[in-house]
Symmetry: C2
Subunit: 364 residues, 2 copies
Amino acid sequence: MVVAGIMTGTSVDAIDVAFCEITSEGDRHSVSLLSFHSLPFSDDLRGMILKSMAGEASMENLSDLPFALAQEYAQAFRQASASTNVELVSMHGQTLWHHPPVSTWQAGCGSALSALLNLPVVHNFRSADVALGGQGAPLVPIFDHATLTSQVPRIALNIGGMANISILPANASEEDVWACDTGPGNVWIDVASRVTFGKRYDTNGEFARAGRLIPPLLQECKTIPFFSMGLPKSTGRELFSEKEARRLITKYSHPSSPLEDVVTTLTELTAWSIVDHITRLAPASREMIVSGGGSQNSFLLERIEGLVQDASLDLEVQIHPQWDSKEAMAFAYLGWRTIHGLSGNLPRVTGASRPAILGSISRA
Amino acid sequence: MVVAGIMTGTSVDAIDVAFCEITSEGDRHSVSLLSFHSLPFSDDLRGMILKSMAGEASMENLSDLPFALAQEYAQAFRQASASTNVELVSMHGQTLWHHPPVSTWQAGCGSALSALLNLPVVHNFRSADVALGGQGAPLVPIFDHATLTSQVPRIALNIGGMANISILPANASEEDVWACDTGPGNVWIDVASRVTFGKRYDTNGEFARAGRLIPPLLQECKTIPFFSMGLPKSTGRELFSEKEARRLITKYSHPSSPLEDVVTTLTELTAWSIVDHITRLAPASREMIVSGGGSQNSFLLERIEGLVQDASLDLEVQIHPQWDSKEAMAFAYLGWRTIHGLSGNLPRVTGASRPAILGSISRA
């Protein structure tokens, strides 16, 4: 079955579309990428999303947004799919708010997208898990399990806006998988790049590499209670907000110090929080496969490897061959599971009371 | 198939649950009511809904609301369904905003409700039609057609927060049906009752019956462009808002005049707008079957009958035997259609470019 996964992350940087061929043989599922496309948001829509996240949108804006998203998703799909015979669309939607275990909010009207594309659409993947007391996240672990389980114990690390890990023991069954968010991925590095240099992100970690640590800033960040919380846990821009990052930057920036230093320090925070979670939760892992935009920040990767050595972990760090398309592929797979009546959450990972068939199916 | 229809209207007065047995013989569908329950909203939830409608809710409130609605719908369902073997739940959700043909917003998380009840849930009925350029409303006409078509030309009038009519020619096919919103139903009568007497509505039309018309108020109201617009059209609280009603009441109330007069005048507006639409769109109709809370306002009914006589229409007015449960039954039927792959909108009624299978199916 050919499934298109459409993903837009908390960075609101692009509409990712992954066309996948998904096949099954008994319990073994295989997901192969046919093509991947990353298309820009229109400035209008990106502005409307950021305004909504900031709580500055009117009810009319908030009513219109899911339809505007469906329109742009449909447009991205059409631009990307010229020659592909797609049977199912799987739409993550744009997270506007994440407040587990009370609620979660992925905007993007699946029924509208289905009407526009004349294809079945699966969407709203996180709500059932939250309604069952779960975090509604992370949901990628079941995909990591299907595609990355190996004879050696592995970790799948994704560094998007937030960072998360899936812990895959050797030859793991679904029930053996652990996973959680580890804290900020690129989100605070991006804020620091914007505040200091007016850039949307730190290309290849160049700013961070040129600066020096600000120890008291790092120290205050490390005391954020999320980092020491037990599992299950997930987080988002509600906690690791632009506002909080700006507060910290203002508090610890010295006029005579190089601007790079805050980028360096918030990069170190991301690396530290990832490695700290691994040290505590999966010290026996042998391979770590890194995906997401953050996998392209070579300074961040170096710092992760440095901290791995400092912690005396025997862990080989690799870049995922589909580092940019993995999340969109994961949601293609989750939609495929839903259509086949298979649950998509891992209760011990999310904290939900039971496995659930995730999402809603529209077939307008 | 036993289907539960869950409906909450723009008046936010109750959670209506209709358990229906739906059967089909070829193209003929039959919907019989097994039981009907109207349960109160909790004060907290009602407050949160009204705050949201007024644009005063935070993003966290708006994220939480669909889950809180799912919780109360689940609770209402459980209180109501003790002995019924329900196979499908059909949830209209709470309209927060209606902005056709750009967007529409029915809050209430179907995926969460499905997880809580462990039953399939169809929901979000209006979006596909809006995405196809339609008004997303009215959707009850296909149910009126299935249940009220007769050998005489009929009108089905529903007086809820807003009022709408379905025009059913004798022995009509689905394609023969016309329908539209006619303007306010109870919404402005309720505002007038609240502003003047602190009552949530005008019981049996007692205030209205005791007052006299304020001609300039009626005259200004009649100039609202919605009334003279052609079809298709639908409306909501965005246009017939509490704020606008209060403005009109303040403008035309005289301190020495009885408070009842504004209730009388806004009741007359409702009656006038209904009969004016019938006179223009369906003067040949012979029977009118009235449902919704407004059907219990005997003064409003008298005024409708009076204006029908003034317009020399040969129209017999009857109360629908399921006047209170009709809308919930209609959505039970629409959910049943969706599960069976049948479209639910009538394109010439809503203005959509094509028939669509409405809503999304969750099966958590």
